[in-house]
């Protein structure tokens, strides 16, 4: 079966590239004075802001959970000052705004999710008269690109945003070409476990599920229509070829290899359980999304040329001016945890330390 | 005196050093004898019973017990639907190890005890469905099955209707006279004491705190001092037998006089 065809379908055409967005993602007008100088963010826009602006100068505050993602990953290495970003803007550490703390920061843009519990997350900000910019959760390429352009406008870096978008599209186009060359190869069934206790997989209809398809696989849990735990027996029924474990949880492939309950699962028998790399933004989003797909595609189709390690190094050098050491790369790729898994040698340095 | 079952002398109880509930009570009960502890509500009767049972330490005085003691609480309620037999069986607690269950011998003893009160047919009935008097009898049977020599009863007849009062008092007397048990019971009805008690301990501050023969205590004068209201000792005959009891004297409240009575409400005062 050829992998050509629909692989590029998800990539949005670069239409409207020259036109700066005037409204946020719920249709409300953007704050009057742009670019913004003091932004508060509750969501993953934080790492795009850092990337676009190459610093934390425009970030007045962020929720503790997003700051933690930055400081614990490669972005923390690029922007050590991120650890000093005030992280008390969310009352619950995630998305619930602490309005008084935000008012004290006097921000000129507050970036908040829309469509996700608006009355609790968004309404208090509006009532306080804060300049809210609504962002939808990214569900497709088009969303990623639109968000990047919006953030480019907000931070006064539209050109840089456009460059990142082009880079994103180019990397996916290269991947699609590589995958198209694999004629007659089966798409392995991939189970992406977001959590291992209880077993919560990425179901069908989700962006991450689509990402599995795009990386040359097939979502084993595509029949699952909503978020929730499944039984181990259900996994026996699916019998996936490959199992992915969430980058940042406690689960490790070793535990699955040793667990008798997993013994009958093909992914374990063939030692194809992998912990997803951590990267700077959890191997997702505009910068690292293509890296995740490359990583997965090479694991699913070992015949592909091995270029992930060099792509990763190159990405961080080009975008952040950061030279990643072999140790950095090993850490981000979970080299130790994944060392026992099949085909993982291709990602490891030639001579291990 | 070898027949003695319990002897207490100079017993006092205080919750805090300065607050005595009572002090200086003494008494004794022998086999086949009945001691009534008499007094108004709130004088510490139940506390004294607890001390006599050994469930607590007297602040002062000594209590000596010379036999097995069993307790019959006030009209007994239990939240669970135990059968009558289950209730009686519980009297065997002192003879059965912590982790052991009652055996056939225990059950036979319980049925025997029920039979002595003529209650054998009620063995499988739910305890809480019985009348108050029957319940008291079941608890008496439980005391017997414990092999008690001395029964301590807390207000055994107070909460019962008249028929059951008679039933229980009759049984108390029989258990003492025929079975040779010693009995201590509290009551605030002097006529109950008069009916069954050999000795009486009045609980009254400042009085002589030693028990005494019933005839000495159960006099109109002593009871008036104890209760603060007049009581009349009444003798009468019933079916050829002589009985005595105490009658309440309820004062006639200003009965309206034909000529000089208080003005009726509809006549306005001059």
């Amino acid at each position: 079966m050829a992998l050509l065809g629909a692989l590029l379908a998800g990539v949005a055409p670069p239409a409207g590239a020259g036109e700066p967005p005037a409204r946020d993602q719920r249709g409300a007008p953007l704050p009057a004075s742009l670019p913004a100088h003091k932004m508060v963010t509750f969501n993953s826009a934080l790492w795009m802001l850092l990337t676009l602006d190459q610093g934390t100068d425009r970030v007045a505050g962020a929720s503790a959970s997003t700051v933690r993602v930055v400081t614990t990953g490669l972005l923390g290495k690029a922007f050590p000052q991120a650890a000093r970003v005030p992280d008390t803007v969310a009352a619950d550490g995630f998305f619930l705004p602490n309005v008084e703390a935000i008012l004290a920061l006097a921000p000129d843009a507050v970036l908040q999710w829309v469509g996700r519990n608006d009355p609790a997350y968004l309404a208090p900000l509006e009532r306080a008269g804060l300049p809210v910019v609504g962002l939808r959760e990214n569900q497709s390429d088009a969303d990623y690109i639109a968000t990047a352009r919006l953030l480019g406008t907000l931070s006064g870096q539209p050109g840089r945003a456009e460059a990142l978008v082009e880079r994103y599209q180019a990397l996916y186009a290269a991947l699609a070409r590589d995958l198209a060359s694999l004629v007659g190869e089966r798409r392995p069934k991939v189970l992406y476990l977001w959590k291992d206790r209880p077993l919560i997989p990425i179901g069908g209809g989700s962006f991450y599920g689509a990402l599995l398809e795009r990386s040359g696989g097939e979502n084993a849990a595509a029949s699952l229509s909503r978020w929730g735990a499944v039984t181990m027996e259900q996994i026996l029924v699916w019998n996936p070829d490959v199992v992915l474990l969430f980058c940042c949880g406690p689960a490790r492939p070793q535990a699955l290899y040793e667990d008798p309950a997993w013994r009958a699962v093909r992914a374990v028998r063939e030692r194809r359980v992998y912990k997803v790399p951590m990267g700077g933004s959890r191997f997702a989003d505009l910068i690292e999304g293509p890296l995740f797909s490359r990583w997965l595609a090479e694991l699913l189709h070992p015949g592909l040329p091995s270029r992930l390690r060099q792509d990763l190094r190159e990405t961080y050098r080009a975008i952040y001016g950061l030279t990643l050491s072999d140790d950095d790369l090993d850490r981000t790729l979970h080299a130790r945890a994944n060392a026992l898994s099949a085909h993982y040698k291709r990602f490891l340095r030639e001579t291990p330390p | 005196m070898t027949d003695e079952l319990i002897r207490f002398s100079n017993v006092g109880h205080a919750y805090t050093p300065a607050r005595w509930v009572f002090r200086g009570y003494s008494g004794t009960v022998a086999r086949g004898r009945v001691l009534a502890i008499l007094g108004p509500n709130g004088c510490g009767k139940t506390t004294l019973l607890r001390l006599l049972l050994g469930l607590g330490r007297a602040t002062e005085g000594t209590i000596e017990r010379f036999g097995r003691v069993a307790f019959v609480p006030q009209l007994f309620q239990v939240g669970f639907d135990y059968s009558v037999l289950d209730m009686v069986l519980m009297g065997r607690a002192g003879r059965i190890g912590l982790l052991a269950q009652p055996g056939r011998a225990d059950e036979a003893a319980a049925r025997d005890a029920l039979a002595r009160f003529g209650l054998e047919d009620l063995a499988r009935r739910p305890f809480h469905e019985l009348s108050g008097g029957q319940r008291q009898l079941v608890i008496l049977a439980r005391a017997l099955v414990a092999g008690a020599d001395l029964l301590i009863l807390d207000e055994p007849a107070s909460a019962l209707d008249l028929g059951n009062q008679v039933l229980i008092l009759d049984w108390i007397r029989r258990l003492a006279r025929q079975e040779g048990l010693g009995v201590v019971f509290t009551t605030h009805h002097p006529h109950h004491a008069l009916a069954v008690a050999d000795r009486v301990l009045p609980m009254q501050d400042g009085a002589d705190n030693h028990d005494a023969p019933a005839s000495e205590i159960l006099t109109e004068a002593r009871l008036r001092a104890l209760y603060g209201v007049p009581l009349k000792r009444v003798a009468f005959e019933h079916e050829g037998q002589r009985h005595e009891t105490f009658a309440l004297v309820i004062p006639h409240s200003n009965a309206p006089d034909d000529t000089t009575g208080a003005p009726s409400p509809d006549v306005s005062p001059p």
Partner: protein
């Protein structure tokens, strides 16, 4: 008349065994009845008599590795909760209490969550859950004794207060927990599920469940005595204080062991003793074994629903609450209608 058929307990025991066998055949992974029976036979029979292994590895995994530990754990946990509930109701002389209502479950969950936060070993987690459960019961009980005149309400109110306190502490722990590595395990705990049951869980929880359960079954007649009230029980020669502490320790052990492996599973300890009482009467000599058996059967039924009703696993705590709360309401109505007076 109180008449209970002498065969009820043996019948309940047989039902429990049948339910275990039936539950081994229930699950998402299709295993034919014949295969399941052959696998069960291979487990039970000595080697020479065992059938030839004609099953696939996945079938063996489903029945022996996934279902067997889970089914046994659910049975023991259900029995433990039934025993804990019946013992608490007897000891507190209150038919409206259960391990969750007097706060033991929340206390145990607090102990367990603290253990997760501090990276205790699984044994440490069990001990921590025990300490939390016993502490909560002690608090609730001390608080209830402040209520003048006794009765059923002070115990329930004290339980609500203590449970609310520990629930608040649990919320606090969730707030400080690392959302990636610790929080999921904690949340999983609070909801209550046997989804992850493994042989290790069984090894951890079975010994304390069996020991404490046996202890309570041996003390079953003493519960009759304790349910009479302190004064009367003491007058009958029962050492009330010591006995009560012993029962508190055993009940807390049961609940903590169950919570340690499956989180908070509410209402079982309240509802099961009542069903058992309808079958065998109030005498704890029969009630405790019956509560254990009914608890096992009930929780197995709930867990079978939890793992088969939908593709995704339903939290069993949700199912037991859906069944348990109407029963609790019914019991409350009946107790009020009957004018339940205690003390």
């Amino acid at each position: 008349m109180i008449r209970t058929h002498p065969l009820i307990l043996p019948l309940l025991a047989a039902l429990c065994v049948l339910m275990v066998l039936f539950s081994l055949g229930v699950g998402t992974y299709p295993v034919s009845l014949a295969t399941q029976m052959r696998i069960t036979a291979a487990l039970l029979l000595p080697a020479p008599l065992a059938p030839d292994p004609t099953w696939t590895e996945a079938e063996w995994t489903a029945v022996v590795i996934l279902r067997l530990p889970r089914v046994l754990l659910v049975t023991l946990a259900g029995a433990g909760l039934g025993l804990a509930g019946a013992s608490l109701q007897g000891m507190l002389r209150n038919p409206l209490v259960g391990p969750d209502i007097v706060g033991i479950s929340a206390g145990s969950a607090f102990g367990g969550m603290l253990a997760i936060l501090l990276d205790f070993s699984s044994t440490g987690l069990l001990l921590s859950a025990f300490a939390g459960g016993a502490g909560a019961l002690f608090l609730a009980w001390s608080l209830a004794r402040l209520g003048r005149g006794g009765g059923v309400l002070p115990v329930i109110l004290a339980g609500i207060i203590v449970a609310a306190f520990f629930t608040a502490l649990n919320g606090l722990l969730q707030y400080v927990a690392d959302p990636d590595s610790k929080l999921p395990a904690m949340v999983y705990w609070l909801i209550g599920s046997f989804a992850g049951s493994s042989l290790e869980d069984l090894r951890l929880a079975a010994p304390p469940l069996l020991i404490a359960g046996t202890g309570l079954v041996l003390l079953r007649w003493r519960l009759n005595l304790l349910s009479l009230g302190d004064l009367d029980a003491a007058a009958l020669g029962v050492r009330v204080g010591g006995l009560r502490w012993l029962i508190v320790a055993l009940v807390a052990t049961l609940v903590a062991s169950q919570v340690a492996v499956s989180g908070i599973v509410g209402w079982v300890g309240l509802v099961v003793p009542h069903c058992a009482r309808m079958l065998v009467g109030a005498d704890h000599r029969r009630l405790l074994p019956a509560s254990a058996l009914v608890g096992g059967v009930f929780l197995l039924a709930m867990d079978n629903l939890a793992r088969t009703l939908t593709v995704q696993e339903l939290p069993i705590g949700v199912l037991t609450a859906v069944v348990g709360t109407p029963v609790f309401a019914f019991l409350f109505w009946r107790s009020q209608a009957r004018g339940w007076v205690l003390d």
